[in-house]
């Protein structure tokens, strides 16, 4: 709020979009969150380089009898258990050497760091793409319902109400359980259970009402404004009014939702994967790695703790950025924080 006053005073002659952009760029939160996000994205992109050239492992193949040479001694990756009855094996803990299991191995003898880097790729990708999906359908439904009103609005709003009344996690879990058996079919294209398209589709769908409802309300009020009446007056067609008058005015609110949605969708993906109905093996995401790490929680806690920390850091950076975007674009705080 304080930042706002300072910047609007110098930028009176500029367009509102330009003003918001400058406020956003000068915001400290933007820089901090961007730095964190860039670092995490870079790490995820560099995952193959780490696993092939530094750690020399394949994080998707289990290597139960692997061993490596450390300080002249041969070390087993899965070591005989020293706790309890001494039965079974415990994966190696952190060696703090980049070329040999820097942070240790999981129960399949796979390098944890490489798993987390690759898992980050899927988590980030699913979070981002499913949010694009949510935004696309939410804007489509919100604009059509709010603009055409009447029967169309009633029909679409009832569908939104229906999904709204279905607790998000229950809906997502129901869809996952079913689609993991049947796969997902769009005409000729078929996505099997192992495809990332499944979690993307499910997570993208369940949050549509959370964004579409506020956008619809906004379109309803924009539609009553004088500039829309003027456009109708000079004979502009429906599509013309939607694209040149309505859409540019709802886009700021949609943009405010986007970073928050990415964070939310990432958390949902990780929860589904944790319940083993999200990303399917051999693919990994931070959620599946936490699930893998549960069995080792009391012997090798890092396996479950690290991916969780990555989720917290990434989601926090996205939420921080979301706050900055909201303050820059929506000074009157029209867009309520959603869950």
């Amino acid at each position: 709020m304080i930042g706002l006053k300072k910047h609007t005073q110098v930028a009176f002659s500029q367009s509102p979009g330009r003003v918001s952009w400058e406020i956003l760029n000068k915001d400290k939160r933007t820089r901090i969150s961007f730095a964190i996000l860039l670092l995490i994205i870079a790490l995820a992109i560099l995952a193959p380089i780490y696993s092939s050239f530094i750690a020399h492992t394949n994080p998707f193949v289990s290597s139960l009898d692997a061993s490596f040479n450390m300080n002249g001694k041969t070390v087993q990756v899965l070591q005989p258990s020293t706790q309890g009855l001494g039965l079974g094996v415990t994966p190696i803990g952190p060696t703090w050497k980049f070329n040999h299991y820097f942070l240790g191995a999981d129960s399949q003898g796979r390098d944890i760091v490489a798993r987390i880097l690759y898992g980050g790729r899927n988590t980030l990708f699913i979070g981002f793409v499913s949010s694009l999906l949510t935004m696309f359908f939410a804007i489509l439904i919100g604009v059509i319902a709010g603009y055409y009103r009447g029967f169309i609005d009633n029909f679409l709003s009832r569908i939104l109400d229906l999904i709204w009344a279905f607790p998000v996690y229950l809906l997502a879990i129901s869809l996952s359980v079913v689609l993991l058996t049947s796969g997902l079919n769009f005409g000729f294209i078929h996505f099997g259970a192992g495809s990332l398209a499944l979690p993307i589709f499910i997570i993208g769908m369940v949050y549509i009402p959370y964004v579409a409802r506020p956008l619809r309300a906004q379109v309803l009020s924009i539609r009553e404004r004088d500039f829309v009446k003027a456009a109708i007056g000079y004979g502009a067609g429906n599509s013309n009014i939607i694209f040149t008058e309505i859409l540019p005015n709802v886009l700021p609110s949609a943009l405010v939702f986007f970073p928050i949605m990415v964070a939310l969708n990432m958390l949902t993906e990780s929860a589904l994967s944790f319940l083993s109905i999200g990303v399917q093996p051999p693919s990994a995401s931070w959620g599946t790695i936490i699930n893998d790490g549960l069995a080792l929680l009391y012997t090798r806690p890092l396996v479950a703790i690290l991916p969780g920390l990555m989720i917290v850091i990434t989601a926090a950076a996205l939420n921080l950025y979301g706050d900055a975007v909201r303050d820059a674009l929506d000074p009157k705080l029209n867009t309520r924080i959603i869950k």
Partner: protein
């Protein structure tokens, strides 16, 4: 007012009916999904499949199956599970409610207290570092995956430290309040804290921004002009105003949690509540149980929506007169 309530109740039943159809279609009409194959097991032969279909009534047309299930669920009230035959669904569902209610009520008391204290502090503190600090806490709160936090809590309290600092803590699970109130409390203390952290984060953020918005409203200016003190303005006007959105948010969250959204917390802490029951039944394709739990959950969400609207109209005269 009565008209509002009546339309609300009608739409409540319509939404519930629609949801039951939706769930039924998801599990019975998705191409490629065969509940009989699930019941019969992985490598069942054709003969067994036909038998299973017949004995569970899965060879009947879909609308008939739906009506029969609704009949057993609501009229006969003797719907039985597909997986554990003979287990009645309704008593099973009812038996999980106390655990979920205990978890959700306790957690909501914690998060309401915490967020009101911290939210007001963040919005009103004169010291420069307090607001950003609380805001960061709020952001971290909403960014923590609740199941992961639960596991970390388990790691701290149930592992090595369990022999020293946390020796008073019972193992994971749930004990009814009627059988042993002390054990009930001890079993739930960490699940409460875990579940409330996410919601504390959300509520701090909402409360802070609502109070700041209310502070710019005309009625606050009027109060200032009348010479009211800052404390009075904050508590009697700005905070009261911001309670409106807290009430609606709380209604919805509470409804969803009681309906089973606390399932991740229940799974992690091994509390056999409604969420865990739903999750277990989903994994087994135990459709009668899924049907009952989802309708039950939706009932709470829709009911909470309706109550929120009515309470809102009662709290905020501007809504009433529109």
């Amino acid at each position: 007012m009565i008209k509002v309530i009546l339309t609300r109740i009608t739409s409540l039943f319509l939404v519930l009916a629609a949801i039951s159809v939706l769930v039924f279609l998801i599990f019975f009409a998705t191409p490629g999904v065969d509940p009989a194959a699930r019941i019969a097991g992985r490598n069942a032969d054709q003969q067994t499949l036909i038998q299973v279909r017949h004995s569970f009534g899965l060879d009947k047309p879909i609308p008939l199956r739906y009506l029969s299930m609704m009949n057993h669920l609501f009229i006969q009230r003797d719907l039985t599970s597909y997986v554990n035959r003979g287990t009645k669904v309704i008593p099973e569902l009812l038996s999980t409610i106390p655990a979920t209610l205990s978890l959700v009520v306790g957690a909501s008391i914690i998060w309401l207290l915490m967020s009101v204290v911290l939210g007001i502090k963040a919005a009103s503190s004169k010291r420069k570092w307090i607001d950003p600090l609380i805001s960061v806490l709020g952001i971290v709160g909403v960014s923590i995956p609740v199941y992961w936090l639960g596991e970390v809590v388990n790691l701290i309290t149930q592992s090595k430290l369990h022999d020293s600092i946390f020796h008073w803590l019972p193992p994971l699970g749930y004990v009814g309040i009627t059988s042993d109130p002390v054990q009930w409390f001890l079993h739930l203390i960490f699940p409460w804290i875990t579940l409330s952290i996410l919601y504390t984060g959300i509520y701090i953020r909402v409360l802070r921004s609502e109070i700041l918005t209310a502070m710019t409203e005309d009625f606050v200016k009027t109060e200032r002009a009348k010479g009211a003190g800052e404390k009075r303005i904050l508590y009697r006007h700005a905070f009261r105003m911001s309670l409106l959105s807290i009430v609606s948010l709380f209604g919805l969250d509470f409804g969803a949690l009681v309906g089973g959204s606390a399932l991740l917390t229940e799974v992690v802490f091994n509390i056999h509540g409604i969420g865990k029951l739903t999750f277990d039944s989903l994994q087994n394709f135990d459709l009668p149980v899924i049907m009952a739990t989802v309708i039950y959950a939706s009932f709470f969400v829709v009911l909470a929506n309706a109550i929120v609207d009515i309470v809102y109209a009662w709290l905020d005269p501007r809504v009433r007169y529109e």
